[in-house]
Amino acid sequence: MIGSRFESLIVRRTGSLLVPLVQIFALYVLFFGQYGPGGGFVAGVMIAASLVLGQLVFGRSGLSARRARSLLAGDGMGLLIFVAVGGLGLIGGGQFLNYSEAPIPGLPDASRRYVGILLTQIGVALDVAVAAVSIVFSLSRSARGEAGNA
């Protein structure tokens, strides 16, 4: 199923409406995660779901599928952001992941924590999205018996 374009007009219309909506909601969940339920993991799963949906509906050559494949090149980027933000705390003389010690000049303590948590969550979201998309990609590839690298 994955890889071929879906011919039904209804499915494609709904898909083109849903994919951006899910992505915007994922961003909302990511930024709102500081104050309420949500955060990087959920946002990452939603981004991945939207990309997978795009690929299911529009096929391999669709815009979403291409975006998803380019996302895979960022394998590990999210984790690197996480470690880098954690390391900032170390450089500032505090513990690993201690955001209030991060050496960002001109920011009060609370804002440093805010920025630190936000950046960490963005890293988590990226990593989860990449992991989920790459699982779907490799499963669909092996099901079609294709070889090659994403």
Partner: protein
């Protein structure tokens, strides 16, 4: 900066592992030097951390600056620090050896291979330092997933072994997590120090006991304790030559160390009655594993499988030591665990070398080959002395402590098991040594390329470590006694 060392020990290999795909994308030949540099940096940091812990006392490291009940804590006490130093130094030696042994399997996919090795090292250091049961689970998973992938790198038969390892290992971590869940339900705490205050009062609770048994089963699979060892000989026998010493030396030992932590730092902390049954169970399982493992090793013809069963029997010896529930047994067991990590590493280094340089896989091959290299034979003799338990290697002093602990606890059966294991181990090593010494003739030895210095350095360092652990056994054992003296046993 000193108090940040535990986090740095973990962060260095992790960061390098993440950057490895990018570096390998630019140029593949950069992977091995990068991994070696990262492991060396990790070794320097962990040795510095050991020095800091020995001279300034234990470090309790709170991540993000949040104190333990809310935040996540790492505990760098002498036991954790020495194990972390062992992990990283053995990691460097295995990388030195792996690149020069002549096995080109991992060169086909250097990026995933070196990424996995570094993730394994990072996970091992995390599992050693972690101060709460849930984070131990997380790092145990990191270690296990990298280990499955490393075994599977070999391809062919190793895929089946890796899949079996994966199934068993997943069961093991699931059991462990289930046990952690029971503990959490009973106490509402995951931190080892918090649990140590609550659990001893709750030993009558069936939930706590069930949790403890689940954790024992889970970790027993991970450390390949006798009835649950099925995955180990195949995984180590078929796995890639370069990675097996790392797995054999470290993965099972860290699982064993976690069990020691749970048993002594959580269960037996404070005045507690009702742990006698658990210690008895541990001691009996240890006796079974040590004697049966040694006997099966005696029947093996394949060298790698023989060493694998030897390792299984030595896990049993450590379990006998901790099962005696006294100070002598605990220090002896932890000390023997360190020795065993080095010995297993050395044995599999030699086994890999035997296959790739001399074409020796089985006992019969050993009888035909002429191995004249003093480096190989010297290291083998030291490793054999250590495994059998003869002075001046660390194996002797560790085994002596375990034997003394069994006598101290008035447990002649356990003492007998230690002696029988020693005799049987002597049996299979003497047989192998006899084949090696008498085997081949000097004239029939074909010309071989000169052994690279990395191989010689790795072997010399391993042999020196086994001897040094034995020669300086007194200060090491004393330091371990001081480190564990606060635990009321």
């Amino acid at each position: 900066m000193i108090e940040q060392l535990p986090a740095l020990v973990f962060a260095v290999p992790l960061t390098t592992a993440i950057c490895m795909p990018v570096a390998g994308h630019v140029r593949k030949s950069v992977c091995r030097p990068l991994a070696l540099a990262s492991a060396s940096a990790m070794a320097v940091l962990s040795v510095a951390s050991l020095w800091a812990v020995v001279s300034h006392g234990s470090v309790r490291y709170s991540f993000s600056g949040w104190a333990p009940p809310i935040g996540i804590e790492w505990l760098a006490d002498p036991v954790a620090a020495v194990m972390a130093a062992g992990v990283s130094v053995l990691g460097v030696l295995c990388l030195l050896y792996g690149g020069a042994v002549g096995d080109r399997t991992h060169d086909r996919h250097p990026v995933p291979y070196y990424t996995m090795v570094l993730l394994l090292l990072a996970g091992l250091s995390g599992a050693v330092y972690a101060g709460d049961l849930f984070n131990i689970f997380v790092f145990l998973e990191v270690v296990s997933l990298s280990a499955y992938a490393l075994v599977a790198v070999q391809g062919g038969r190793a895929l089946v072994s890796a899949f079996r390892y994966l199934l068993m290992g997943t069961l093991g971590t699931a059991f462990y997590l289930l046990g952690v869940g029971y503990f959490y339900a009973a106490t509402g705490a995951l931190n080892i120090a918090d649990l140590a205050q609550q659990v001893p009062g709750l030993l009558g609770s069936k939930a706590v006991m069930a949790g403890l048994i689940f954790m024992l089963v889970g970790l027993a699979i991970k450390m390949a304790l006798m009835p649950l060892h099925g995955w180990l000989p195949d995984a180590y026998g078929d796995g890639p030559t370069a990675a097996v010493p790392l797995l054999a030396g470290l993965v099972t030992k860290v699982a064993l160390l976690i069990w020691v932590r749970i048993l002594f730092w959580v269960m037996a902390a404070g005045e507690s009655q009702g742990t006698a049954g658990i210690f008895m169970l541990v001691s009996s399982l240890g006796m079974l594993a040590s004697v049966a493992g040694a006997c099966i090793a005696l029947r093996q013809r394949n060298l790698k499988r023989m060493f694998a069963y030897g390792g299984i029997s030595h896990i049993g010896l450590v379990m006998i030591g901790i099962g005696q529930a006294n100070q002598t047994g605990l220090t002896g067991a932890v000390y023997y665990l360190l020795n065993d990590a080095v010995m297993q590493c050395a044995l599999f280094v030699l086994a890999g070398l035997a296959v790739h340089r001399y074409g020796v896989r089985t006992l019969d091959d050993a009888g035909r080959a002429a191995i004249r290299s003093p480096w190989v034979m010297g290291t083998f003799v030291v490793a054999a002395l250590g495994m059998v338990g003869l002075p001046p290697t660390g194996g002797f002093f560790g085994k002596l402590r375990i034997l003394l602990a069994a006598l101290e606890a008035g447990n002649p059966l356990a003492a007998g098991a230690v002696i029988v294991t020693t005799l049987v181990t002597l049996g299979y090593f003497a047989r192998l040594l006899e084949r090696l010494v008498r085997g081949g003739s000097a004239e029939s030895e074909p010309e071989r390329a000169k052994m690279p210095w990395t191989l010689r350095a790795a072997m010399a360092a391993l042999a020196a470590a086994m001897l040094a652990l034995g020669i300086w056994n007194d200060p090491i054992l004393e330091a371990l006694t001081t480190a564990t003296g606060g635990l009321a046993i």
